[in-house]
Symmetry: D2
Subunit: 338 residues, 4 copies
């Protein structure tokens, strides 16, 4: 349910479906081979192709739930999995697929993000996310525009714009899958055309809103804006972005900060990164205990699904969260001046 979408926005079911298809698993061998059709249906909020201002309800039915495959392991605590924490919190856990702890919930984020993207495009904002790193294989920094980046992504099966790195990562993933293991990764995001003034000064700084959104993704373990962790080794004389007059328009000479100053956008591109842990579901046996505390060996049921590297599937999801945060910030900013 998307509440707060302004009226009059063109809602294109085909575009939403395309976006969902980018996230969908089973598209290639590096993503878990499920048959999730992820077919989206609009239940409300749209009239004659335009948003009405009412909440937009989208429904994506799970046509490939295989509860039975979870039966054999339902009494065991799954290593690295949300189940234990949920049981402690709620005293009850729906073992069939993980419920809200399943990464399947990100389909909803992508569908909502597709609508936010249309809104942003109309305002001249363009954005992209891509796989930057898996294991030790990492792309160097890009100075390209989001359009060039998007084009480069087309040729990679794993959303990685540097095709040489893309190939190295694919090789690494082959080895990881062979070993029945999983591996972590980093997704970079990049938004162009963001106007100055987005974000709120104190608790809702733009980086804080982005961090909240990204760290709410399953398996996210770190968030960076601009140069991120690397700022620890930088001097102010290098890191400071100075101002210049470029043909009558004041602009920044550099963008070390990743597009925000004092938590508010500067008009420069907004970029950063999100790190995702290795998937907890692996084919290697792991020691654990049952819910009753008996020692046990946890083994993924035959035929059950897992991704060798969740960061790949996370790429369109990070892009969607970026779109949602920027759309919200744009709307919020309409009340900053009288």
């Amino acid at each position: 349910v998307i509440d707060g979408c302004p009226a009059g926005l063109k809602i294109d079911l085909d575009f939403i479906q395309e976006e969902l298809d980018r996230r969908a698993p089973g598209k290639d061998k590096y993503r878990s081979p499920r048959n999730e059709a992820d077919q989206v249906e609009i239940l409300s909020g749209v009239f004659e192709g335009l948003s009405t201002g009412a909440p937009i309800s989208l429904k994506i039915a799970n046509t490939d739930a295989k509860s039975a495959s979870y039966e054999p392991i339902k009494g065991l605590l799954r290593p690295g999995h949300a189940q234990y924490a949920y049981l402690e919190k709620y005293g009850i856990f729906d073992f069939r697929g993980g419920g809200r702890a399943s990464a399947r919930e990100t389909a909803a984020r992508v569908a909502a993000g597709a609508i936010a993207k249309v809104f942003l495009q109309e305002q001249g904002i363009d954005l992209v996310a891509y796989l930057k790193q898996v294991g030790a294989e990492s792309c160097s920094a890009f100075s390209d525009s989001s359009k060039q980046l998007k084009d480069a992504l087309q040729s990679s099966p794993i959303f990685c714009p540097d095709l040489q790195v893309s190939e190295s990562i694919c090789a690494l993933l082959e080895d990881t899958m062979q070993a029945g293991d999983s591996i972590g990764g980093v997704v970079e995001f990049f938004a162009e055309g963001v106007p100055a003034g987005l974000g709120e000064p104190l608790f809702d700084k733009l980086p804080a809103l982005l961090a909240h959104a990204m760290m709410s993704l399953p398996a996210a373990k770190a968030f960076e804006i601009g140069e991120g962790m690397d700022v620890a080794t930088k001097n102010g004389s290098i890191h400071n972005d100075t101002f210049e007059n470029r043909s009558g328009k004041i602009t920044l000479s550099s963008n070390h900060s990743g597009g925000t100053l004092g938590g508010i956008s500067t008009g420069m591109p907004v970029f950063g990164r999100v790190a995702f842990k290795p998937a907890s579901s692996i084919r290697i046996s792991q020691e654990t205990v049952s819910i009753e505390g008996e020692n046990a060996l946890f083994e993924l049921p035959v035929g059950s699904r897992h991704d060798p590297c969740v960061a790949i599937r996370a790429v369109p999801v990070v892009e969607s969260m970026l779109a949602l945060v920027l759309a919200d910030a744009l709307l919020m900013n309409r009340v900053s001046k009288k």
Copy 2:
């Protein structure tokens, strides 16, 4: 103003003042030499030493504001500073000290955090933050308890528990100050005794709430939980925390995840890191333009204040934000079961 503080909590003005004194600048040569007394006063919400359930208003007057010292530079865009973004957002900027963009606002966070800490201590939760890294000087990981860490901090003028690293950082800061420059740093946080079940499953995962809080701090550029960015190079077989039965109690055998699974606390320590950029105020001249777009040289007025490394002052602030997020999550969790 602290709203939502439960009634019946012991509010100790002396403890709040002590906490403020830890943050206050001018305490040593590495923090900017201001005369901020940071004297706190309670205006409401406390009766006979206990919270009444009403909002607690605390007032910390700024007795050392020197607006005059900002006069000479008021027409210039300060490199790395919030002023430009504020002007774009609001069309108006109070140049005297930076308003809400001044790190002085963190005094309020520390005062509020002091109250949250009392609440947490009564629930058996203990927490600490410390300076982990400045430039290339970095502490290795600690396996100590929060109590041991706190004790170690006493001997360092910069909240760094590894005294050898503390000395190296001090030397580095001397050089940086000599050069009129600033440098970035990393603060680590650590909370023990956090019960399982804190955080909400989707958007308000505990790491998301922490990331939001930490990235709302002035100069914060990255947030990590558990192993943070390093997860990109880890395999699931290593990173997964397995379960074991330790004398009848189910617990985790390791804590790579930093105390949360599926975004919800597991009962293990919650730890992570925040990276702070180098302070934008430096004594080295920087090229910039005036608000009207004329080329200009920006120089800090003689006698104006700056910190060589804001990460030092950020230590008690990170600790306070950790306390506030955990206290909120504890209260929120009271409604998770019927």
Copy 3:
């Protein structure tokens, strides 16, 4: 979508359906003869009959939408109807049935209220709403328990516990329908077993939360708690509820205030009233203009639906809103003490 329902609550689909059936139109001649099956379906949040803490999605499909019947009047501004205001606000209006301005949205409130009622019953709270007045026909005040009131409602086709008044109202409704007109009414609500301490002191006083909820209902024009508008003529010496010691327990001697003091519940029954305007859809022709501003006569299409008195259908809805507000207030109150 019901978010924030505590885990472990028994969710009984049959009970939800029963509640919906009470609201459903077409049950008798005084409610508009639609064929809304109002069949409810649970999409998420329930596992083995218990709430899991996840959002509970309920779906009630509209199986009787007759968009065609709205065609002839789609270009006219309907007197007393939301359409004009929506067009001004959003620039777009889904003329087929009124969208969110249709009273059909109250089905969702009743479904959610059914779940809140189960939660309240487990805490010993019982509640009821009933038709108090239509036109000049009005029940006198009741001193009965909610159980007695509920029993009395069984014999009335219009939720009116005073059977003599019930009959008079039915006769009045016959006349009104004959004339093709509609008429207003008042619904009274009553909750027993509400513990002291619910509601927040300033903006979220319990009467404020109730007023917000009730005035958000379609056609609601007034909200009263306790003696409501009549307090204007009362003296403090009469209206004040004094305290007494009844067998060792402090209690109030009277309940003029309707169960709250200073906006917080006292442990006495919470009661009040909501007034509903006459339905705007009538069979009498009304002058109006088209969206383009041409003079026109508005006539309800033959076969289209309308209720002579929406206050009747509002009875279970008011009961549901009461249940939802009290359930929220109960949960909120869990954080009032340390």
Copy 4:
């Protein structure tokens, strides 16, 4: 603290003070004779006379608190007073003056309302509240403009625009004071120039927001919009507001609804009423019990304060809440269209 005030608004301390003076007690014999200077001070959020977008902190110190006068009655449960409910909720109560349960908190609402009024005036919205009824003495409906109403109020010591009724009410108040008693009253509010489109379709309908705001006032017991409770006796053929084309502009022919349709403003004046109970503090002795449950007689300490009719002082407060709700709704409405 006023958060969310748009930047660039003229903040006029003198006007805020004038507004506070209208509410202040002791201005005439019908309002309790306290020496509350209600001197307002701006602590933040204003620069060179304009709002900066930062929270505006206003401080109104209580210079006339007489805690000592509450000593003799601190162990008794005050009839009609919040103290009992607070004790049940929080387990602690600051007996000195009532804390947040004191009507003194409405000074803050008036100060905030003054700022909202400036914002509204710039948008062409004008508003007024007045005393409509005390006891059986009541003004008839007004068809005047808000300007005419405001002028009429000048001549009444009790904000009552009908001077004959004003005199009758004054006489009634004399009698009530003589008897040591108090009496209830009704305040009417009226806003002109409100644009169409304010309010949200479901839970945050404009009448719901107004009801919430008004019922959050101390002593408020009922809220009406348009014809309020009287709609119960009206037919749709009379109550419906039809549309007409007045010199090329579509407008409503009548305004029975009080300026909203489907919960959203129509462009017509928004008006309604709030009923206030008789003040609970009276000079007549009342039976009660002590906190320990002993029977006792409650008598107001000599020299303590009370108002014979709180509805008088409530007039500027109702006006302020109206201003605040409309200002919020105006800002919210900026995001309704793309």
